[in-house]
Amino acid sequence: MNLEYNITYAAKNTYENEASGALWQFLIIPETNETQELISDDFSNSLQIPVEHSINGYNFKTYRIRPGQSFEIIEFTANFKVVKKIKNIFEQVSQLYSKEEYNQLRSIDFRAENDVFLRFTDLTSLPGKVDFKFDENISLFDNLQNLNAWIKKEFTFKTNVTDIDTDLSHILEIKQGVCQDFTHLFIAIAKKYGIPSRYVSGYLHQGNGYFGDSQMHAWVECCLPESGWIGFDPTNNLIAAENHIKVAHGKDYNDCPPIKGIVFSSGKNETEYNVKVLAQQQQ
């Protein structure tokens, strides 16, 4: 069985002083992978500037816009149709404890292969001790499930208390934050135990009362030696599955912000955006 999604991404940039030129790159296009397929995409803007299709540094598809004219306000709208497979993730995952899995995790081959996602970045560095410990007597997957539950239990979803530069020491202190923060925290702890982990940017199917459904969402993918990459959503204590539509991944938020821009303008600017995800079951 499949789910069909209609996703709308809308953004509006306002500049206090007229901007004389710009280049924006949008990293908002759902990728096509084993569990999802991008059926159609459409991107338009209020200035009718032609859209270029490009990639980011990690080969994820992007849109680019380069207005030649001056502007104060520009609006962008994107529509995507995605088919998502409903798949039982537990069929992919080895839940049984095995010492071999831990050995593989520590092997030089595995670490060299996944080195990029084992490095600590500024946003995924732990300031000191955290009250979460791995239990080496249970499977890696179970440990990550516990970590997922621990974050959900200990931290409260709250907007406007953190921003994209907030480091983990602050999150750990106030015990509040948004999906980016919880994702960074999860990544930092998982990496500490040698599990390659990456930041995923994407859309969450709304309407189920989950947090993070009117904005772009963030979750984690961890690479387990016997199961491959598996998604964990610590904001909602979920395994990322049919409700999670992936756009891109990177080491942390800085590798996958939905919009990057270089704008020739002075003064303040404001960006507003929102996301809608509508689902429909397919036979």
Partner: protein
């Protein structure tokens, strides 16, 4: 020892028996290679050299052959002092150097390919993973990417010294944006202008063919489907210390010198703005560091690069020279693994020696370093241009304690090497109006293209003008000499 009787300009030349003197042997006889030169120089008076020296200086300044020194407060524009006594390397000696630097460049290229693909050298435990994963110069964006022609370090600058044992040692490999080649050419021009009669007595290889070889190399790594590639040199601009070189190379190759704002990217192709409209660019010799080449992908506040350049590169529409991410392999900590790296990829013994090196990241070696700071040179692994180097025997006890503290704070950042005694070479000293021995090194320039390699027969001999100084970098007040590589059978 005085050579007063033969040559008045050598009256204050005191050979230090502890050092390798390039023109006098251990019995104070002029070495064979230098005999003709020495005799010819004897015909000139100290006054003549004073005049020639002034002329050469004025000529460099008038031509704008200058560089800038970055200090704490002000930026100074200086000429790179040119010395009147050329360095001569005979054919036999050169053959070893040429083979050796080429071997290193090829091995480094294979190493970079491996680091950005299968990482076999790490999996086999030859180079430790930590060294790579802690390197800020490893670019994830290059992971799994095949650069055009399979080349990463198209241009390598290898720094060599001649130790007191008379053998060459490699001090470092520069494979990001090695500079200095323009001075090689300028020094030749200046020397010929000042002392043509002398140059004429030797059969030395030309150095002016560098630019044509550089251009051929750039053209050889053109993107697929391009017949005659449009190559450009991109510079950070007139305030860069090597701006003269950027402009020289562009002019000598007959290609455009551009800044970031002269280029733009459309649909993943790179264009140059011209008065006749956009012109597509295929190969970019970039003299801008990785972190500044594309604000969309790297430092977002950099205005030196071109937004979108990295995507054009990754789509194969433009070639960047050198490839982004080469810095991971010219890290001074990687340097110490060069003998193993050469053996691993080429199954050859290294032709040139490496200076023994202690890694402060290894506890045993750290202990040795801390106990022997006074006999070692301490270098930060990730700084270029001679910044941050401490030479143990020049430090006061307080300074030694300070250096120890700095090392202990971040051991991974430092390596230490025995104090190598660079060879000395007669150098005209303005104050004494005489030639005096000064320490020299040699930077060679190697090009790797997709179909041919080239080593410039010559190089930049840098000289530390301050007496006893071992740091020859131009940013630290060094000068340079014309360097003659002799043809066989003279």
């Amino acid at each position: 020892m005085s050579h007063n009787s033969e040559n008045p300009t050598f009256k204050s030349y005191n050979r230090d028996p502890g050092l390798y003197d390039e023109i006098f042997d251990e019995n104070d006889n002029v070495r064979e290679t230098y005999k003709t030169l020495f005799d010819l120089y004897s015909e000139h008076s100290a006054k003549d050299f004073g005049r020639l020296n002034d002329k050469a200086k004025a000529s460099f300044f008038n031509q704008g052959i200058t560089f800038q020194v970055y200090g704490d407060h002000e930026i100074k524009e200086k000429i790179f002092p040119f010395d009147l006594f050329p360095r001569i390397i005979d054919a036999e000696e050169w053959e070893v150097i040429e083979k050796g630097v080429l071997q290193r460049s090829i091995a480094l290229n294979a190493f970079l390919w491996d680091l950005y693909h299968d990482k076999n050298i790490i999996k086999e435990g030859i180079v430790p993973l930590d060294l790579i994963s802690s390197s800020v110069n490893y670019l994830d964006q290059m992971n799994g990417f095949d650069p055009p022609g399979g080349i990463y370090n198209h241009i390598s600058g290898t720094d060599l010294i001649k130790h007191s044992d008379g053998r060459y040692y490699v001090l470092e490999d520069n494979i990001r944006c090695p500079s200095g080649v323009s001075y090689v050419v300028c020094n030749r021009t200046a020397l010929k202008r000042a002392l043509f009669g002398v140059f004429n007595h030797y059969q030395a290889y030309t150095v002016t063919n560098y630019a044509e070889n550089l251009l051929e190399m750039l053209q050889s790594v053109k993107p697929k489907g391009v017949d005659i590639p449009n190559c450009v040199v991109i510079t950070p601009g007139i305030y860069n210390s090597a701006y003269y070189e950027h402009s020289y190379l562009a002019k000598a190759m007959g290609v455009e010198l551009v800044e970031g704002r002269d280029l733009f990217v459309e649909n993943d192709f790179v264009y140059m703005k011209t008065i006749n409209g956009p012109v597509k660019v295929d190969v970019i010799y970039r003299r801008i560091d990785d972190q500044f080449i594309d604000p969309l992908e790297f430092k977002p506040d950099s205005s030196l690069g071109v937004p979108g350049l990295m995507a054009s590169y990754k789509k194969g529409n433009v070639c960047l020279v050198n490839a982004p991410g080469t810095g991971v392999a010219d890290d001074k900590a990687i340097y110490t693994y060069m003998p193993q790296i050469i053996k691993y990829y080429l199954e050859e013994e290294p032709i040139l020696n490496n200076v023994p090196t202690y890694h402060c990241s290894r506890p045993d070696e750290l202990k040795y370093v801390l106990e022997n700071v006074a006999n070692l040179v301490i270098k930060p692994v990730d700084e270029a241009g001679g910044y941050g180097i401490s030479i143990g025997n020049r430090l006061s006890p307080e300074e030694i304690e300070e250096v120890k503290k700095t090392i202990q704070e971040s051991p991974r950042k430092y390596i230490a090497q025995p104090i190598m005694s660079l060879s000395v070479h007669p150098t005209y000293i303005e104050d004494s109006e005489c030639f005096e021995p000064r320490h020299v090194d040699l930077r060679t320039f190697t090009l790797l293209g997709s179909d041919k390699n080239f080593v410039l027969k010559g190089g930049l001999t840098r000289v530390a003008l301050k007496k006893g100084n071992l740091i020859v970098n131009s940013s630290q007040g060094g000068g340079s000499k014309d360097t003659w590589v002799l043809k066989k059978n003279q």
